[in-house]
Assembly symmetry: C2
Homo-oligomer: 353 residues x 2
């Protein structure tokens, strides 16, 4: 275990010159800073094929079975918001990550970190919500852990879920399966979750509150696969939103993606809240939305399946994968102009999941 | 998802009359208060066969394979202590939980919660330690997540690991397999981990520091199984220590366990530190010790295997499972007196893992 045995590996000062020496909120953003941590710290330390896929979860071999395995910690503030809470978020988030690997979600673990002094009733409400979400998603919470830290050393309640699911399809559903010409489908309107949480935090009031889109999309994915759609890649649009997900896929595949901005649905209240806060809805986190890369001739059938599920009612084809490098994302505005989009460098919405 | 549909289930006020209305440090202790949370909140909410086994991990079916699945969050303070750190602890802890299910540990997930302002170098040291520990344990960290919370809303760094492993043995290694007459084997001396952490926190000084026993025991368990020992149950001696583990097994099996106190090895410095702090070493947490329940005629062979591994050098037979109910643990002192031991009601050592 001594470092001398691993001469090529020095993590004590892992990040590129000029990188911040302290952790910033932006390191949790899904943007450039988090990319640096992954690139320069986590991948060199743990590097292995599943991790290097940089997908929402790992697909690993267990005996002769392929198992999807994923984890997320949840630190959302406030714990309860219109359309959801930290408990349902923690179940749906990990279930959706498994679904993005094309897996049938089966089992979850649950690790709580509680702040001393938290009302037990609050914990009860969160657990109740997790129970309902797990039932809805058809998964079982089979193992768990609870830690308590002293008052002031956590913020009420954090929860981690990890999940496992069974991968049944033969073709990997991952960035490397994306092909030139693939249609890019979006499962619904974007920006609700981030704006629902921010509206509560910032005290923004609307005639009716913005509700988070937090939901389980595993059923929709299952239906796509069972219908025989050759899904090449799936990605849910959590931290960093639609824009970051597209950039990640473009970079991983080294293929260009062109998006038609007018085909991306955004709720009017979400657009209004984004304008007030100076945010672009395409970068705002969602918790029940995903993009699917499918062969262009199967796009109509795939949209038909997606629209038959309530969370997919506003599904649309938003763009295409171009024929060759470079791996950039271009957005065509309603006026016909084109711009290239990139990852966020900082954190625009801390602690929304 | 409405509560009206589940008339038998009311979690809003889940705990027994007289139970604390707020979360106390003792709820994370592995003692009575945590038992109440599990009994009255988690089991009613999530109740399923693997969870009700109340083992260190769940054994679940994935296709035709049996997979062990476990999770733990780590909040130890300080992050670095003699003999280990939060990184190696997080790897070995979850690997050991999988080993306690009789599984071959394969893959880990890793979820960080970082406090804004944490030196990136500290994160680097923790990741470096996790890398070394994972290599030693023969597991891969295949998926992960990083969240950052604002300054003052966490304590430097928390980490969750979940793990999966393949169960190859046909007989379940679980409390329900314990039989009257089984020998109780202990893998080494007790109390080191808790005392190593507390000595740093309390500023206790010894000629040489107490080192945590934190280590991977999966190899030792694998060797026991490969040698053909019919291991009935395994339990690692983490929060609540040896005493709590014995009480849990006695209660789960409804069988009496009698322990010979003089056969439980305790390091002199650990005993000294326990006397200063007024603690019983049998309740102090370990991170590389376990008990094994085996048929009495196989006890010598099992001890031989355990002693051939460095962490098992001081393995010993400490007691036996009695022939019939009730499920209590009796300790025979060196003077021949007998006393019944129970779970802790509060928390004697907060944040030692």
């Amino acid at each position: 275990m001594s470092e001398a045995k691993e001469p090529g590996f020095a993590l004590r000062c892992p990040l590129p010159a000029g990188a911040p020496a302290q952790v910033l909120l932006g390191h949790g953003s899904g943007g450039k800073l988090m990319g640096d941590l992954i690139e320069h710290l986590f991948l060199p330390a743990f590097g292995n094929q599943p991790l290097e896929e940089r997908h929402d979860g790992a697909v690993v071999e267990c005996g002769d079975r392929r198992i999807a395995f994923s984890t997320d910690s949840y630190v959302v503030n406030p714990l309860f918001f219109p359309g959801g809470d930290i408990g349902s978020l923690a179940v749906f988030g990990t279930v959706n990550d498994l679904a993005m690997c094309g897996a049938r979600p089966l089992y979850l673990s649950c690790g709580f970190i509680l702040e001393e002094g938290l009302p037990v009733e609050t914990l009860g409400r969160v657990v109740h919500s997790m129970r309902a979400a797990a039932r809805q998603a058809g998964v079982q919470v089979v193992t768990g852990d609870t830690k308590v830290v002293d008052r002031g050393k956590a913020d009420e309640l954090f929860v981690n879920t990890a999940g496992i699911g069974l991968v049944e399809s033969a073709t990997p559903i991952a960035p490397r399966s994306v092909r030139p010409g693939d249609a890019v489908l979006l499962s619904g309107d974007v920006g609700r979750h981030g704006m629902a949480v921010m509206a509560v935090r910032e005290g923004l009031e609307f005639e009716s509150p913005i509700e988070s889109d937090s939901c389980c999309v595993a059923g929709m994915v299952r239906d796509l696969l069972d219908t025989g759609i050759h899904v090449h890649c799936l990605r849910d649009l959590t931290r960093g939103g639609l824009a970051s997900a597209l950039v990640e896929i473009a970079e991983a595949t080294r293929l260009p993606i062109e998006i038609d901005e007018s085909s991306v649905p955004v709720d009017d209240r979400v657009r209004g809240a984004c304008e007030i806060l100076g945010l672009d809805p395409q970068y705002v986190a969602n918790e029940g939305r995903f993009i699917a890369f499918v062969p262009p001739d199967q796009a109509p059938a795939a949209l038909h399946v997606m629209k038959s599920h309530r969370p997919g009612a506003r599904a649309s084809r938003i763009g295409d994968v171009g024929p060759r490098a470079p791996g950039i994302v271009t957005v065509r505005s309603p006026l016909g102009t084109r711009r290239v989009i990139d990852r966020l460098s900082g954190e625009q919405l801390p602690r929304i999941c």
